[in-house]
């Protein structure tokens, strides 16, 4: 009964979305302000009904309603309640419903926070968002219905949630990621509305900026969580694999970052108008493309959802309409590029252009690498694999270039900057960076060799932090109280760039100095890695709520002082029989100690993987700082000055 209610609510939501996509848009052309205002109430209604639908699915999980195919595939009576709820988005159908819910949420947010925008623009934006909602609702109802019943043969017990997903990571990571993916629908809708209306000026850029920033912040958090989750959950200490699904999330992020920077130039100087519009279209298009790649079965991935050719075709049609349509609109109505140079030399505009070129080149490279196996297969060139060696080969130098540019950019001004000014600011940070990068790795050399990676990493980090510090000191001297006078926009930027520096530090140093040993250890055996002594006491059987496990005990000491007791496990899940490795980690900003249990070997010995990973936690710390910086920038005072901009709401476009 509840499932039918949920199903019905979804159908009503589809109806509302259909109205929302048509009525305000038509109203905007005819000048019917009552029609245009309807967008707001319709979006409220849509959220209401999608929320009911989502709630019904959650209730079905909590009630162990295995007559629902989706519930029987991903749940179990022994599954703890909080995982029953998160199981809602564990697979294709339910996660799509989450997409629809989040889209409805963002749509309502736009409706509520657009008082200062012209009604015509708001109406068109809501209509575009409504159209996208229609697409998702149709996709759900026609090909991916989470409420499909298994009657009359309902199973007594479910297949259980994949053990890899029985973790707090599943509770937060997908929702955050979808908040980001779906969030980019808002700038997309802004862009389409602008193209329809023919107005793409600084005001448009000003209005769309907070939305771009917010979506980007969520995507940053989502990707960071995914990486951190893979690190501690998968059991072998990796945190990024250039897997197609990971790439599908990184590509919109890169374009989103480029968009964030490009739109600031459009807002402040009115330049890059076409490019910003195109980026706004690209960002969401890549979100959709990612959704397609992950759910159509077209690429092999550890993360891929179960696929179905019918779904693939539907999604591709949806993609063709949304992306193809928006790019066509762009080609026909996009602003022609100016012939007048509004900037030259080492200006901030040029630095932002460099930023964009690097980020978009990275995205393009990742797209080519991810899709090339498919292209080669279709062209009968054979089955080729493209993996980390390819992606790292290009991504690392591009990132180095980006970091260098960020450091220089801090000192540039709009329109043009005297070379002398930049040249006067650079030597000190540069010198500092070269000294640290050149000297420290010798001091830190391991038993094998001096690490160039470490040198380069330290150079980049010191360069960034020193340039940021230099600029801060320029602005406020050493009077810390003056920090309060700096805008959130500026502070957010510096915080985010500092986060980038920390993240780079974590990536580079953990790659350079990671020490991993795969050892055969019997109870009582010792090993010493990177100054830490590992003592293996043995393995005991333990029981969990829905699994049985072998749990090892390892004492880690340094200079005879206990650092940590670690308990890695090898779990056998009861329902599905899957075997999972649960690593044990002793975290710290300076180093992670990472231990995982392998296979049992002869004579009571076990294979153990012992790892010491310096500064790996800085990766996620840096990424979180980046996200906080973005959030800070999004809440800048000028976006909150709603009261003063209320005039001229009736502008006809």
């Amino acid at each position: 009964m509840i499932a039918e209610l949920g199903h019905f609510a979804l159908i009503i939501a589809l109806g509302m979305a259909l109205l929302q996509s048509l009525v305000p848009m038509i109203g905007s052309f005819k000048g019917y302000s009552s029609w245009m205002r309807l967008g707001s109430s319709l979006s409220m209604g849509q959220l209401f009904f999608v929320a009911i639908s989502f709630g019904c699915l959650a209730i079905a999980f909590l009630n162990d309603d295995f007559s629902l195919k989706y519930v029987s595939q991903h749940s179990n009576t022994a599954l703890p309640d909080h995982y029953k709820i998160s199981a809602v988005w564990a697979a294709h159908e339910g996660s799509l419903l989450l997409w629809a819910l989040i889209l409805a949420g963002w749509t309502l947010a736009v409706a509520l926070f657009s008082r200062s925008l012209p009604l015509v623009l708001t109406a068109r934006i809501l209509s575009v968002l409504g159209a996208i909602s229609v697409g998702f609702a149709l996709f759900l109802l026609l090909t991916s219905n989470p409420f499909e019943r298994l009657l009359p043969m309902a199973p007594m017990e479910g297949a259980d949630l994949n053990p890899l997903l029985q973790d707090i990571g599943l509770i937060i990571h997908p929702p955050m990621l979808y908040m980001g993916y779906v969030g980019f629908a808002v700038p997309f809708a802004f862009a389409i509305a602008a193209l329809i209306g023919g107005q793409f000026d600084s005001a448009w850029a000003r209005w769309s900026r907070p939305w771009i920033n917010l979506a980007w912040v969520f995507l940053t958090i989502g990707i960071t969580l995914g990486s951190w989750w893979a690190y501690y959950e998968l059991g072998w200490g990796g945190w990024w694999f250039w897997d197609p699904v990971e790439n599908a999330s990184l590509m919109p992020w890169l374009v989103g970052t480029a968009l964030m920077h490009s739109v600031s130039a459009t807002e402040k100087r009115g330049v890059f108008r076409s490019w910003t519009l195109l980026l706004a279209i690209f960002a969401f298009s890549l979100s959709l493309l990612g959704t397609f790649l992950v759910r159509s079965g077209i690429l092999t991935s550890v993360h891929a959802f179960a696929s179905d050719p019918e779904r693939g075709v539907f999604m591709l049609m949806f993609l063709a309409i949304v992306i193809g349509g928006s790019l066509m609109l762009f080609a026909l109505r996009g602003p022609a590029m100016r012939k007048v140079a509004a900037y030259s030399g080492w200006s901030r505009e040029v630095m932002l252009l460099i930023n964009n070129v690097i980020l978009v080149s990275s995205m393009t490279m990742i797209l080519i690498g991810t899709l090339y196996p498919l292209v080669a297969d279709v062209l009968e060139l054979g089955k080729i694999s493209v993996g980390p060696p390819y992606f790292n080969f290009f991504f690392v130098p591009l990132t180095v270039g980006l970091v260098i540019a960020v450091g220089i950019a801090v000192f540039t001004q709009w329109k043009s900057t005297e070379s002398r000014l930049i040249l006067s600011k650079i030597p000190v940070p540069l010198l500092l960076a070269i000294i640290c990068g050149g000297v420290l790795p010798f001091y830190l050399a391991t038993e094998y060799s001096f690490s160039i990676t470490a040198g380069l990493t330290i150079f980049m980090t010191v360069w960034l932090i020193a340039t940021i510090a230099a600029d801060l000191i320029d602005k406020i001297g050493i009077d810390l109280k003056r920090v309060a006078k700096l805008s959130y926009s500026y502070l957010g930027m510096q915080l985010a760039h500092t986060g980038l520096a920390i993240c780079v530090l974590g990536v580079g140093l953990s790659s350079a100095y990671d020490q991993t040993r795969e050892l055969r250890m019997a109870p009582g055996d010792n090993a010493m890695i990177a100054g830490y002594e590992f003592n293996f006491s043995g393995v005991n059987p333990v029981d969990g709520p829905n699994f049985t496990a072998f749990q090892a005990q390892i004492a880690v000491t340094k200079n005879n002082q206990l650092v940590a007791n670690l308990f890695p496990e090898k779990r056998h899940y009861n329902a599905g029989g899957q075997v999972m490795t649960e690593a044990a980690i002793d975290p710290s900003l300076i180093r992670d100690i990472y231990v995982s249990l392998g296979e049992p070997l002869a004579n009571g010995a076990w294979a153990l993987s012992l790892q010491v990973k310096p500064f790996v936690r800085c990766i996620w710390l840096g990424a979180v700082m980046v996200a906080i910086g973005g959030l800070l920038a999004a809440t800048d005072r000028r976006y909150r000055r709603r009261k003063k901009i209320q005039a001229n709401n009736k502008v006809a476009l």
């Binding site: 252009l353 393009t364 490279m365 640290c436 038993e447 094998y448 932090i465 009582g524 010792n526």
Partner: protein, 163 residues
Amino acid sequence: MYLLNVLLAMAIFLMPLAQFAEPSKVWASTEVVQFSDPQLRDRYYQLVQELRCPKCQNQNLADSNAPISTDMKAQIHSMLEAQNTDDQIKQHLVSRYSEFILYRPEVNTNTWFLWLAPLCFVLFGAVIIWRYAFSGRRVKSDTTELTDKQQQQLSELLGEDDQ
């Protein structure tokens, strides 16, 4: 003054890294995969990360527990000990399992686009930056300079002879 502070902060932050300079020792425990030479071990780990498990859903040999993966790792180990080069080992495996198992695609006529396109894209971007920023165009300021027609109108208004 501040640069000394930054230098000091960096040194303090990074000093703990020195602890990782100590070599590893293993007592009683032995490596699961043993090598006669530490350099072989490094090459082994490099290879098992670069090679793909033919049966898994996008995993390298290092992360995979599949039986075929174990077999391939054993083969790599014995070939390393037998003084084969990395290329010989990869060739041996590719001739049996096809180039699918290479995560670093070969550079040949089938993959020229894959390897060249990103480079071309970056070069294209660099050209655009050069043209827009450094081609020597003088910045036209929108507010202070007048067009010729406006200049003429100004002269007329001021009652001057146009020159």
